[in-house]
Amino acid sequence: MGTYFELDKLDLLKAQFDTAEYDAEQAEPALYIGKEQLLDLMRVLRETPTYSFDRMGMLTAVDYKDYIEMVYSLYSRRYDKWVTVKVKLDRDNPEVESMTQIWEGTNFEERETYDLMGVKFLHHPDLRRILMPDNYEAHPLRKDFVPLEPRIEGGVLTWHKQRSMS
């Protein structure tokens, strides 16, 4: 079981990036970062030899009703270390830099997050829906999601908002 990223290194990062924050009280504090600096932070985490987080372990988004939080779990194979990076996004228009610019293997996971949570990834090579039908409009994993109604119109399956749930 790999250990968590050391606090002093988190401090270093905090000094380097002005939007970086973490809760020192927690045992395994997540590193919060502003979305403008995310890409730079990730580059530093990946490319600095003393960090070398070369694997994007997991990438997802959580809908906290007021905001959407992107969660990145990074893993360093060389040092056997973990770090969690979190970004808070505006719920109405969530946009964040795509991690495919650093880890190409996040392509499908980002497409999934876009599909199910509605987070738009900037500079993503191929941002389309992946699990839901292409003409589906809602984002199912949001907390206020109401299933759309399937209807066949002119031989094409279309999706419509439900008329008043009573």
């Binding site: 079981m1 790999g2 070369d54 694997r55 994007m56 372990g57 997991m58 997802t60 959580v62 809908d63 969660v71 779990s73 194979r77 056997d80 969690t84 880890w103 190409e104 293997g105 996040t106 392509n107 499908f108 996971e109 999934e112 199910l116 829906r129 992946i130 699990l131 839901m132 039908p133 199912p140 994993l141 999601f145």
Partner: protein, 365 residues
């Protein structure tokens, strides 16, 4: 002036060899593949969403349906994530039983791999032989938990019921049979020249590519990257067992096949050690009837048959998880399909689907 045209062939979702409902849009130039685009979502059931409205205990049977040929591994991953979140200590005997079940299921899943691979290569006999042996493992699961595939045996805090002597005895019998079984497979396909000609030096994934795509499991190990979470994380009781991580050299189809053959032997080794050192004691930790993990989040990963299976659980302090995200290995691995198929023949595409071993229940979640 001769003119050739590229054309797109839709393989799947109904096709004899696409492993469930995977659709691959293969762009062909004659029989040479120019590109292969996987299209998924045909089996999307929204398990992540479903879990948000179930209690933690009720979530466990849904993980069976993710990767339904290695259900025990999924149970294990989810239960360990919840245990990490709620701080539950699992008794040692339960850990051992978990390892036995997970490794048995790994063998069973590799049987499916071998079976579907040989079937895709046109030898239905190989499939029947592999499934015949898989049946023996499923019968073992039937003894220990009463279900053959959707086991729902590993629970939060331990296992559902104690392992009977009958189960342990029959497992021992199966482990004794493994070398004979592998020998038969080696004679029937590994040594077969046609088989080798089709597998060797086709659909190569280099080390760099495997790392780039974030692949995991046997697929990345076939490319020569030593990345086995059982070895790295030593979760559960895995730290107590001695086993090797087989590695490939070239990263071609043949390596991906041989890795799995070797892994079957390694899994048998682990099970043998677990059977020999099986401790006595309780099989279930004291878990509150109504489980309310503290507020927070936890990410736990286990080595599933197909790679790194991770569960990210967010708890808001209630009885139900606020958010569950599943990092599915075959979903991520599938990204390499395009690179694997490029420049190969149509017949190789089928082999590539088989060796990358995606399971649509897991891909679509």
């Amino acid at each position: 002036m001769a003119q050739t045209e590229k054309y797109v062939l839709n393989m799947g979702p109904q096709h004899p060899s696409t492993h469930g409902v995977l659709q691959v849009q293969v762009e062909l130039d004659g029989e040479n593949i120019v590109g292969a685009k996987p299209v998924m979502g045909y089996l999307h059931r929204g398990i992540e969403k479903l879990m948000e409205s179930r209690t933690y205990v009720q979530c466990v049977p849904f993980t069976d349906r993710l990767d339904y040929v290695s259900a025990m591994n999924n149970n294990l991953g989810f239960c360990m994530a919840v245990e990490k979140l709620a701080g539950i200590e699992v008794p040692e005997r339960a850990e051992y039983i978990r390892v036995i079940c997970a490794e048995l299921n790994r063998i069973a899943s590799h049987h499916v791999f071998i079976g579907s691979l040989t079937n895709d290569l046109g030898s239905a006999t190989g499939m029947i032989y592999a499934f015949r042996d898989r049946e023996k493992i499923l019968d073992l699961f039937n003894i220990i938990c009463g279900a053959r595939m959707t086991a729902h045996y590993i629970r939060i805090g331990g296992v559902a019921a104690d392992a009977q002597d009958e189960f342990l005895r029959d497992t021992q019998k199966f482990i004794d049979y493994v070398p004979e079984m592998l020998d038969e497979y080696n004679k029937l396909f590994s040594g077969n020249e046609i088989f080798q000609a089709r597998m060797k030096k086709t659909s190569i994934i280099t080390k760099e590519m495997a790392l780039k795509f974030g692949m995991s499991g046997p697929n990345i190990r076939a490319s020569g990257v030593d990345y086995d979470i059982r070895k790295i994380d030593k979760y559960g009781a895995y730290g107590k067992f001695d086993f090797d991580v087989p590695l490939g050299k070239r990263g071609d189809n043949w390596d991906r096949y041989m890795i799995r053959m070797k892994e079957i032997a390694e899994s048998a080794k682990i099970i043998q050690q677990a059977l020999d050192n099986m401790p006595e004691g309780p099989y279930m930790a004291k878990v509150p009837k109504v489980l309310r993990p503290p507020k927070g989040d936890a990410y736990h990963r286990v080595e599933n048959t197909r790679g790194e299976l991770g569960f990210y659980i967010v708890s808001d302090g209630s009885t139900k998880p606020y958010r569950v995200h599943i990092r599915r290995p075959s979903f991520v691995n599938l990204q390499a399909l395009d690179t694997m198929c490029k420049g190969m023949l149509l017949a190789d595409a089928v082999t590539a689907f088989a060796t990358i071993d995606p399971l649509m229940g897991e891909v679509d979640c």
